[in-house]
Each structure stands twice: as structure tokens, then as C-alpha cells.
Symmetry: C2
Subunit: 130 residues, 2 copies
Amino acid sequence: MKVSKTEKNLPEPTKAELEILQVLWEFGPSTVRFVNDKLNAQRDVNYTSTLKQMQILTEKGILKRDESQMKHIYIPVEDESKTKDQLLDRFVNTLYKGSASSLVMQLLGNNKTSKDDIEKIKKLLNNFDK
Amino acid sequence: MKVSKTEKNLPEPTKAELEILQVLWEFGPSTVRFVNDKLNAQRDVNYTSTLKQMQILTEKGILKRDESQMKHIYIPVEDESKTKDQLLDRFVNTLYKGSASSLVMQLLGNNKTSKDDIEKIKKLLNNFDK
DNA sequence: CCAAAGGTACGATAGTTTTCGTACGAAGCA
DNA sequence: TGCTTCGTACGAAAACTATCGTACCTTTGG
């Protein structure tokens, strides 16, 4: 199973922080106003709450920002893929003792995975080790 | 075709709660003492902390207990697989917009997944739809 | 019978995460 | 110029999570 030691990395984002990261991943570097608007499409959040979160994310080193303008632009320090890797790694380790195949088995048994997705997964695997 | 009736989900277990659930999944219905001993194999926890957590889990309806003896026996209400399904589902939805194949792709790109695991996953898929 | 060991109950505290009010400066505009 | 809008900064409340101390009851063994 090879539980790789978790790389010494940035602090794990919390739930609210993850919401923000996802907006930035999807739309690229953004202002607080922009992020807050996106969040409010899903749920009510006060502007200053979002601002605070983004400031905290910056303190933690998860985001950096361009302060050259009055409206600061926030940017994720690590790219989406790397951060998700960490989260996924942690998830697999926690719930499946590090076994990716166990996770996939669960995914297949879970009837929420569509035929389409299963087909896609097959293709991925076949192309994988050439 | 599987109609997924929106199952009413139990409240999502917290981190500490998940630790306890895992002990119960691995060893079956247990007393607080037993669970606490297992936890202490990994980290220090006071007995009453574990007790409290298990009481909370019971209040939340995640565990039930047999109180017919002085030493109560705690039992998960849902089975391991179902609970993990929910957690996995939530994870996929949150991070991969519900796309299982995206998750698997990440898993493969992530070089923490061993050759062995990849082989296992292939076998799973090939046996899956026949 | 009594003390010690071991069990549950539960409130209080500590720690973390999330939310927001308030202060205040800069920009926009009539 | 003044007023209103929009921005950041930041402390602190609120909400959630985790840990533990203390009280008190039951069982055990000498």
C-alpha cells in the first residue's frame, strides 16, 4: 500500500477556505468582491467574512496577493492539482489505509458512478501504462 | 436503473469521531475502554474524552449502544461501507464536481499510487460490468 | 464490610474555525 | 468640496470541536 509520508506542506485548508480556493481555481486570480459574489451565489456570506478568510489564507501562505492596486488580487500559491493531490492523499490514507484500489472499489460499488464515468476510467487505465 | 432516493444522511462525523468509528469498524461492537485503548496505541487520549466522544456520537445517531450491562457496548448504526460511501460521495462532489473519473485521474497522476494498486484497479474494472 | 478499581454522566474549559461589526482611508461623483 | 460608495484592517463574538476534571455509582476482592 505504500503510505507515503505526507509531504511537509502548507497547512490543510479548512472547509470555508476550500470554498474560496475553488473559486480561485475556477476563475483565476480574483478580488475579494468577485470571490464573495461567487460564494453568495450559493449561500449567504458577508463581504467582510470572505475578506477575513482570504486574509487568513494569505497569512497561512496558501494564497498570495498583489497589493499594487487598491483592490488586491488574490492568487493561490500552489496549483489546483497539487493541492488536490494532498487532499486526496490524506483522504485515501484516512479512510482506505492508503489503498487506492480500495477507494476505486468503493467508487464502483457506489451506484452514483455513471456508466460513462466507468468507461472513462477504463480508458484512462488502458492508456496509462502504455 | 438505480433511483437514488435521497437518503437522509446522518450528520457528518468529525475527525475525532471518525477515529472512533474506524476502531468499531475494525473490531466490531466495543466498550469505551476497548476503543480508548486502541486510540492510545496511536496517541494520548484520556478515557473520559473518548467516553464523551462516544456519547456525542450516540446523541447524533451515528452510534447506538447496548446498555443492558454496566459496560455499555457501542455499535455503529450504519455499516462501514455505507458511511464511507457518503464520505466519498461528498469528497467527489466537493473536489471533483462529482466526476469519479476526474478523481481516478488524479489518483493515477499522483505517483503515490503503486503499480500493484493500478493493476488491482484494472482487474476490478474488467470484472465489473460482466 | 470496606476500600480500590473501574464504569457512566456531565459541565466546564480549551482550542479552532467562522462570522461579522466597526473603524477608517481612497475613489468617484454631483 | 463634501457625500456616498467601495475597499482594507482587525478585534471580538459566535459556533463548532475536542479534552478533561469531578461527581457519583457499581463491581471486585480481601
